[in-house]
């Protein structure tokens, strides 16, 4: 496919992809609608500011050609790993976990940077060699994935470490690692689960998993959040209770209404129809991302575009899965829709990279 002349003249020169932008705006509108419902004008204003900053970051990043990323990836990755170590040593503890680094003027979360730089680093390494990737390369790439993942899991921030790990592993998968190795890796992970459960997980993390298996066991304690969330979603029905009329959310039965559980609020007020619309927008964005990946012109950009898109999907899947009772509550926001500053900047920065890949082509391929 070749961009049409019209697109080239406006969006292409601005290095913006109109399809992605359209999908993102749709999600942002949904976000602001729901946030007004749970937090009033105050929260709406705050989110608008954050969105503006995040969009500016996205457009800025889209202007930078992919060659630049390729050149700086190893250095940024190294610095990020060092920062993660610094967080563990001197980091600021918020809500019982050490995630922040206090820079004096602002607090900074190095694990957010890692979400972006991880696929770039693995892609940087893998793309040095021809595809399909061989065992030795795959093994080294896995090391690149595992070290930062463990550092983040140790903070402890299970949600982010899952996202970081999957963004790296997606690159490996897309690079064509043999199915045999994939099978072996899956077997290894399954074998690792008992070790994880008995030695590495903290009590509260184990509790979350147990709660998932049987939330009704402790309806007013550990199971409370997930039960209330399922009631909110289920009682939304086909058409929902109407905007600002969700009793579960308005009467504050739902926890974390504006962040992790925003999907429950949305489902309660807009019903199954609303959920279909929301999922369609996500699928639209993901499809577009995968198209961009396939049209990319070298291995490096193909791999990072693919990985960024897939990680975006992991966000969606984990968040909706956890609030609807399929997955344990690990603290992953609903991308673009949840209230929050850092995660939205990171997400839109990822889309900025996608746009940069798509609009900085050195030559046109006619197919």
């Amino acid at each position: 496919m070749v961009s049409t002349q019209a697109q080239k003249s406006i969006f292409y020169r601005l290095h913006i992809d109109p399809y992605l932008l359209l999908g993102l705006f749709a999600l942002m509108s949904i976000s602001l609608t729901v946030l007004y419902s749970v937090g009033g004008l105050d929260m709406l204003y705050r989110q608008v500011t954050r969105l503006a900053i995040a969009l500016a970051a996205m457009i800025f990043i889209a202007q930078i050609p992919p060659e630049w990323y390729q050149r700086w990836t190893p250095a940024i990755f190294l610095v990020s790993v060092l920062l993660l170590i610094a967080v563990l040593v001197i980091g600021h503890t918020g809500k019982g976990a050490q995630r922040w680094l206090d820079l004096g003027f602002t607090k900074f979360q190095p694990s957010e940077v890692m979400k972006l730089i991880m696929p770039l680093m693995v892609a940087y390494y893998i793309s040095q060699f021809t595809m399909p990737t061989r065992f030795r390369q795959a093994f080294i790439a896995l090391l690149i994935v595992v070290i930062p993942t463990l550092l983040i899991a140790k903070q402890p921030d299970l949600g982010t470490s899952i996202l970081v790990a999957s963004s790296g592993i997606f690159v490996l998968f897309l690079s064509g690692v043999s199915w045999i190795y994939i099978g072996l890796a899956v077997a290894a992970v399954l074998a690792f689960i008992p070790i994880l459960w008995f030695f590495l997980m903290l009590d509260y993390q184990r509790g979350r998993v147990l709660t998932l298996l049987n939330p009704e066991a402790d309806p007013l304690g550990a199971g409370y959040h997930i039960i209330q969330s399922k009631i909110a979603i289920g009682s939304g029905g086909l058409w929902g209770k109407g905007w600002m009329h969700g009793t579960q959310s308005q009467l504050e039965f739902l926890p974390e209404r504006h962040t992790d559980f925003i999907f429950s609020v949305f489902s309660e007020e807009f019903g199954f129809v609303g959920v279909l619309l929301l999922l369609s927008i996500y699928i639209f964005l993901i499809t577009r991302g995968l198209i961009i990946a396939n049209q990319a012109q070298d291995a490096f950009t193909k791999l990072i575009a693919g990985s960024i898109t897939l990680t975006f999907f992991v966000y969606v899947f984990v968040n909706i899965g956890m609030v609807s009772g399929l997955l344990p509550v690990v603290g992953v926001p609903l991308p673009i829709v949840s209230f929050g500053g850092t995660s939205i900047v990171t997400l839109l920065a990822g889309f900025g990279i996608l746009m940069s890949i798509h609009t900085h082509k050195r030559f046109n391929i006619k197919r």
């Binding site: 105050d42 021809t130 399909p132 009631i231 009682s235 579960q248 009467l251 995968l290 693919g306 899947f317």
Partner: protein, 632 residues
């Protein structure tokens, strides 16, 4: 262009095809995953809709936290110092009002709302949810409550809410003891979270910020209760299902005596300074005053930025608790301790005499130190030196002792250490040493530094509470004492009175040394030559005391101090420490007046007036109880 290592020649179209295949696999995976989500959501929202709808409707039981009432604070006689007063506030739930704009207009007429109040309301209204109550006016007078109640039917959605507010009936007289409570801010929240007490403060809006209110927050606060209520679909409470009463905070009784406290405040008048009265037998603080002060009630109702700025920037620094945070040179008040050390170290004996021509010269130098008496005291022994506060005698003594012996000894009396008083606002002040000067100024310790220390000047600073403790330890001949404000914790079923350590802290080679220093202190007030004879000569009880006059600025060697010629802020600090009765010490007093001039002429009369008051009160009522409750 980036250079890359390549193991083999790239086959771009093969790579693209591989990537495409993998993408398709992944895309199918995504569709499968979305299918799972979709099925689950379909099951929740369509299949189980009826179940969840019923559960959602039944989900009307809401748990509300009922905050506990804060414990009250009494003086030792049972006079209430901090209470909870009912206040009434006018609130509105915006989406229940018929015509909010018009209602506010009519309300403005009825209760004469100010422009500030209207503006604040509009702002709050804009930023909060329409079904949440917004306060319009905080403290309604009984007349306003009546006025509104009569007209209530005209104002749908408006209501009057009763709540309790902390009130300090004696205003600024107790600010530096009681402190105050104020709205919980983000910093407080962080601390509450860190202590894992989030649930305990659910529903509480105020927290102790200063003084006793802060120090005993844990005791005063209490435990919240819970109310399970049934709400309608808009969250309005229909009925209460169950109620667990909160446990109110415990009441506490202080050692402070209201009469002595008010008397001390009155005696301080417009001076800047501090007065502390303490029971020498057990460390009970009978009075603790720091002037100037301010009204703590301002902080409870929410002080305006302007008022707060004024307090913060005032030259008189009213926010400082001078009794525990004021750092003053101790001046001559520490001469008794200096004499004790010199006797114990055999630097002087009871008979040692020093000739004072009015100055003292550091041996082998030209550096001259002046005595306060220009023409000198002549030949003085240790008694004379304390009674008349002879500087030359102590220049000589401290020079011979050296800082390395002075500093650890003075620390035993509590100088340079926290006094242990039950207030968080306290400074250790400075008990200087060689190491201290090295780390503070990166300079060696000079002999001249020690000479100043000998008369309580130079780098040495103390707080009034440290002076009080040190004086009490003198009176107790070295027994430790811990000053404390709290007398007892009262709850419904028990009265707990904390106990404190009183072990021996300072041991001297001979008991005689104590007698020398204490006799000399008695001479200060009872001998004709004593500096405080004019204030205490005619007292009908025995007193031991010591005056101090601390230089705030340095006066040159041959310049004469003339109070009228130098600006008010550079005048000397007047200090006086004393205890009585001499034979069996009961009460210790410390008086510090900033820039008031000589200690014996200005501070001693205040101590006298307070002792008079103390003994008068003691005669009137039965003896002030030393430990347990004072309910007589």
């Amino acid at each position: 262009m980036v250079k890359r290592k390549r193991n083999s020649i790239r086959n771009h179209s093969a790579e693209s095809a591989l990537f495409m295949r993998r993408t398709i696999v992944v895309f199918l995976g995504i569709l499968f995953a979305v299918g799972i989500l979709f099925t689950n959501l379909y099951y929740l929202q369509i299949n189980s809709f009826d179940t969840y709808k019923t559960r959602s409707n039944a989900n009307r039981i809401s748990v509300q936290t009922v905050p506990p009432n804060r414990g009250l604070i009494y003086d030792r006689n049972g006079v209430i110092l901090a209470e909870n007063r009912p206040v009434y506030s006018l609130q509105v739930i915006a989406n229940k009002a018929n015509d909010l704009k018009n209602d506010i207009k009519r309300l403005t007429k009825l209760l004469s709302l100010t422009d500030d109040e209207i503006e604040k309301f509009n702002k709050n209204n804009r930023y909060s949810r329409s079904f949440k109550a917004i306060t319009i006016r905080d403290q309604l007078t009984p007349e306003e409550v009546a006025l509104f109640t009569v007209n209530q039917h005209l104002f749908k959605g408006f209501s009057i809410q009763a709540s309790l507010k902390r009130y300090y009936p004696f205003g600024n007289a107790f600010t530096h003891v009681l402190g105050y409570i104020a709205k919980i801010n983000n910093r407080d929240l962080e601390k509450i979270e860190a202590k894992g007490e989030r649930a305990r403060y659910q529903g509480t809006h105020y927290i102790g910020k200063l003084g006793i209110e802060k120090y005993y927050e844990d005791i005063l606060h209490g435990q919240p209760g819970q109310r399970q209520v049934e709400v309608d679909s808009w969250g309005k409470v229909i009925r209460t299902l169950s109620f667990t009463a909160p446990t109110p905070g415990k009441d506490i009784k202080l050692n402070i005596d209201i009469n002595l406290q008010l008397k001390a405040q009155e005696l301080l008048g417009d001076n800047r300074g501090s007065i502390i009265l303490m029971d020498a037998r057990n460390g009970s603080i009978l009075s603790l005053v720091s002037a100037p002060s301010y009204d703590p009630n301002l902080f409870v109702t929410g002080i305006s930025q302007k008022q707060y700025q004024a307090l913060l920037e005032s030259r008189d620094r009213p926010l400082i608790n001078r009794a525990t945070q004021g750092r003053y040179p101790p001046a001559s008040t520490i001469k008794p301790q200096m004499a004790l050390l010199a006797l114990d170290e055999k630097v002087i004996t009871e008979e040692t005499q020093v000739y004072d021509p009015g100055w003292w010269i550091v041996p082998n130098s030209k550096r001259r130190f002046r005595d306060w008496k220009r023409w000198g005291h002549g030949l003085v022994d240790v008694f004379h030196a304390i009674e008349q506060s002879c500087d030359t005698f102590f220049y000589d003594t401290s020079y011979k002792l050296g800082i390395d012996r002075i500093e650890p000894f003075m620390r035993l009396f509590g100088f340079g250490e926290y006094s242990g008083l039950d207030l968080a606002e306290e400074t250790k002040a400075i008990m200087p040493s060689r190491d201290w000067k090295r780390s503070r100024f990166n300079q060696p310790w000079y002999d001249g530094d020690t000479i100043s220390i000998g008369i309580g000047q130079g780098y040495w600073t103390v707080t009034p509470i440290q002076l009080t403790k040190a004086t009490a330890m003198l009176a107790r001949r070295g027994d430790n004492i811990k000053p404390h404000i709290l007398q007892s914790i009262i709850s419904a079923d028990e009265t707990v009175t904390p106990k404190y350590d009183t072990s021996k802290k300072v041991t001297l080679a001979s008991e005689r040394y104590w007698e020398i220093a204490l006799e000399a202190m008695q001479g200060v007030t009872s001998k004709r030559r004593g500096t405080a004879y004019r204030s205490f000569g005619d007292a009908d009880y025995t007193v031991a005391g010591k005056s101090g006059t601390a230089q705030v600025i340095n006066i040159k060697e041959d310049e004469v101090y003339d109070a009228d010629k130098i600006s008010e802020r550079h005048r000397d600090n007047a200090m006086f420490i004393a205890f009585a009765p001499f034979e069996s010490p009961e009460i210790v007093a410390t008086v510090v007046l900033e820039n008031a001039g000589g200690g014996s002429t200005n501070a001693a009369p205040i101590a006298r007036a307070l002792f008079d008051e103390y003994f008068k009160e003691k005669e009137q009522v039965s003896p002030i109880p030393t430990t347990s409750s004072a309910d007589q």
